[in-house]
């Protein structure tokens, strides 16, 4: 029953169009496998993503009324497969497009949808996600950032952390406490906070790779206008959880195909170097490379299955945790293998090998974060135990 098993005729044409457009339009030096790789500036990236949206690569399954293309998750999957096949820049607004957008579609007012959603797709507003806090970590029931009434508006005080992209964002999808600590996650509400205001301080956190992709965000009496409160107060958590469940299974849907692109880059680079090519003949290395491909194929199947269930109107329950966990650990093993192989190139290495060494050293370090962000390994295993295996929780976990 996999999606790939039942290609419709128009799916073939759709895929061909997406593939042709990307082949023609992706600047060669933005490809992470290029010897002269140079990532786009923020402005270049914004313009590129806005173009991608116009050409039908973003907002695919969103309604046309809000700037979307009104298609289904099946076309979204096809586009993601084509995006994954090429070593393209990552989205600068994936929080807007893959987290805030779906939540807005689910719980916001008609006026809010028309205001927020096109701005996301057109890259006029980049969003970040204000969920985690220093003291709460993965345990969102312990959030302390408070939203208090100020007339019809709200005042925000507190601190968020691991806020991906906050330094380039205009809005924060903020989960804040409007009830008491004792209400735990029932006292939480969602807001679309404007970051460009005096009460907000954003401090980028340098990551293990040296990039500053994550931030701390401090709120000192920051203002949320009434029209930027999302959904009913104290229902924020429930709405977020519903969407997060789907999001775990659907965001960065291109990952399996990007993973395959990385493997292809590694193998073709090794094959072009005489010493590394000999390594590829070694059966212990072949076993490990084939296992990476096995991991990738399994990941593709998990993602395709998610799409089929959702397109069929079903619920994916905790199944997003299966693909997230499988991907994050398989990708760690792959990145370590890539570094291990490329380290064995004769010295000095060719420019192609050196470029690959740079790419995969960074990928290795970055991969350490992949079992931490968007729910650590421990959180995902807990979800699988609770939601999929439905193990009794008893008095403790």
């Amino acid at each position: 029953m996999s999606a790939a098993a039942t290609p419709a005729i128009d799916a073939v044409a759709y895929r061909a169009r997406q593939r042709a457009w990307l082949a023609e339009n992706l600047p060669p030096h933005w490809r992470a496998d290029a010897v002269d790789y140079r990532p786009p500036s923020l402005d270049e990236a914004k313009a590129w993503e806005a173009t991608l949206h116009r050409e039908g690569f973003w907002g695919i399954a969103w309604p046309r009324d809000y700037g979307g293309h009104g298609l289904t998750l099946r076309e979204h999957l096809i586009s993601n497969q084509e995006i994954g096949r090429l070593p393209m820049p990552e989205s600068q607004n994936s929080i807007g497009k893959e987290l805030a957008g779906p939540i807005i579609l689910a719980i916001a007012t008609e006026e809010q949808k028309r205001r927020y959603l096109p701005a996301i797709l057109e890259m006029r507003e980049i969003w970040c996600q204000g969920f985690s806090e220093p003291e709460a970590g993965s345990d969102l029931a312990g959030l302390r950032t408070r939203a208090t009434r100020d007339g019809a508006a709200w005042r925000i005080n507190g601190q968020k952390v691991w806020t991906s992209g906050a330094h380039r964002a205009q809005r924060c999808l903020l989960l804040a406490r409007t009830g008491t600590m004792e209400e735990r996650h029932k006292g939480l509400s969602l807001f679309a906070l404007k970051l460009d205001q005096p009460g907000v301080t954003v401090r980028p956190l340098r990551q293990i790779t040296g990039d500053a992709e994550y931030c701390e965000v401090f709120f000192d009496n920051a203002l949320v206008e009434p029209e930027d409160a999302l959904g009913e107060p104290a229902k924020g958590w429930a709405a977020a959880v519903r969407v997060l469940e789907v999001e775990r299974g659907t965001n960065r849907m291109y990952r399996g195909w990007r993973f395959e692109e990385q493997l292809r880059h590694l193998v073709t680079t090794c094959r072009a170097d005489p010493a590394l090519a000999r390594l590829l003949e070694d059966s212990s290395i072949r076993q490990r490379i084939a296992q990476v491909q096995v991991d990738i194929e399994v990941l593709k199947r998990l993602v395709e299955q998610t799409v089929e269930v959702l397109v069929g109107g079903g619920s994916i329950g905790g199944h997003g945790s299966l693909s997230k966990q499988h991907w994050s650990e398989a990708h760690q093993r792959f990145a370590a293998l890539a570094v291990e192989l490329l380290e064995q190139a004769p010295y000095p290495a060719s420019p192609e090998v050196e470029a690959a060494q740079r790419r995969f050293r960074k990928a290795y370090l970055q991969s350490r974060a992949q079992t931490i962000y968007a729910g650590t390994t421990e959180i995902q295993l807990g979800i699988i135990a609770d939601r999929i295996l439905k193990l009794p929780r008893g008095e403790a976990r």
Binding site: A290, V298, H319, L322, G382, A396, R397
Partner: protein, 329 residues
């Protein structure tokens, strides 16, 4: 597909009931019961009394059979009935009806003079018919024919003790061409993979049941995080293998030779996941786990034999070769 899905679900329900009823019966009676329930003709065409369904429709039956330790060469019968339907319609019809017992040699090969020793034929001492490899194809032999001797040759499997068959210039009842034989072997691997996963899922369920009912250190074992994590990891492996297998089953008809990437991936994932999950289920039973009477070792024995046939190492080696072709510069 959805019509087939409905039928497949109905078949699986029937299998669940019938497999339980077969417990303790002799081989002939098991055959009769399965045949009566229509479970042996799922793949065979209607002309011999079968349903003519695709491979994916019968996988749930094999899952249930392995979980329930059915003492019968089920995969062999299902595929032989399909294979022989055109050339040996009477035998195929008898297989579908559960009136004949056939097995397949899992090891060894006969020489062109239809002589030699083959083995690992499940329930060979209770069977009337044998398919045995010869060259690139195979031959069909009556096990009571002149020049054929059958002896027990025990391996892991307890319910279906394997037989060794010595053949000396026997006259085959039929000759199976290479292509048809390759298809049977490839499809047999996928069905054995399905069976191993079915057994693994069953054993995991039993481990969960055990941990849920048992208290230690003042609380139910199932609430302990280390054990939950272990089960969650097993579930990831099991679901990954299941999806890989479903994909391969769905595309099986497009690759009758058994060399496609989906088949190789299914072999590699199922061969590793199934025994690991059962081993873990045994571990989670603590001291009870390694008693004979708990019985999970029976599923483990069969899953280990299936895993040896699926041969994850060979599947990955072939997959590496496929990557080379696909990514040739």
């Amino acid at each position: 597909m959805s019509e087939h899905s409905d039928i497949a679900a109905e078949i699986a329900r029937t299998a669940q009931r019938v497999v339980a009823e077969c417990d303790g019966l002799d081989t002939a009676s098991v055959a009769a019961r399965l045949g009566e329930a229509g479970l042996l003709g799922v793949l065979a065409p209607e002309a011999v009394g079968g349903l003519g369904l695709p491979l994916s429709a019968v996988a749930p039956v094999v899952e249930v059979a392995e979980a329930g330790l059915l003492a019968f060469p089920l995969v062999e019968t299902l595929l032989a009935a399909r294979l022989l339907a055109e050339t040996q319609p009477d035998l195929a019809a008898a297989l579908v009806a559960g009136e004949a017992v056939l097995t397949i040699a899992g090891a060894g090969s006969l020489s062109p003079g239809v002589s030699g020793v083959v083995g690992r034929a499940p329930l060979g001492t209770a069977a009337r018919w044998l398919l045995a490899p010869l060259g690139e194809g195979a031959v069909l032999l009556a096990l009571d024919a002149p020049g054929v001797t059958v002896a027990e040759d025990p391996g892991f499997d307890l319910e279906r003790p394997a037989a060794r068959v010595s053949v000396s210039g026997a006259t085959p009842a039929a000759t199976i061409p290479a292509a048809a034989w390759a298809t049977l072997r490839a499809d047999a691997l996928l069905l054995r993979a399905a069976g191993a996963l079915g057994a693994a899922g069953h054993c995991m369920d039993r481990a969960i049941e055990h941990l849920t009912g048992r208290r230690q250190f003042g609380r139910p074992l199932v609430t302990m995080q280390g054990l939950r994590f272990s089960l969650a990891r097993q579930k990831i492996a099991l679901e990954g293998a299941r999806h890989a297998l479903e994909h391969a089953l769905a595309l099986a008809g497009q690759d009758p030779q058994g060399e496609s990437v989906p088949r190789l991936v299914a072999r590699a994932t199922c061969a590793e996941a199934a025994p690991a999950v059962i081993e873990s289920a045994i571990q989670l039973h603590g001291g009870m786990g390694f008693t004979w009477d708990l019985g999970l070792h029976r599923q483990l024995r069969r899953a280990k034999e299936a895993a040896a046939a699926l041969d994850a190492v060979a599947a990955r080696a072939a997959l590496a070769g496929r990557l080379e072709e696909a990514w040739a510069l």
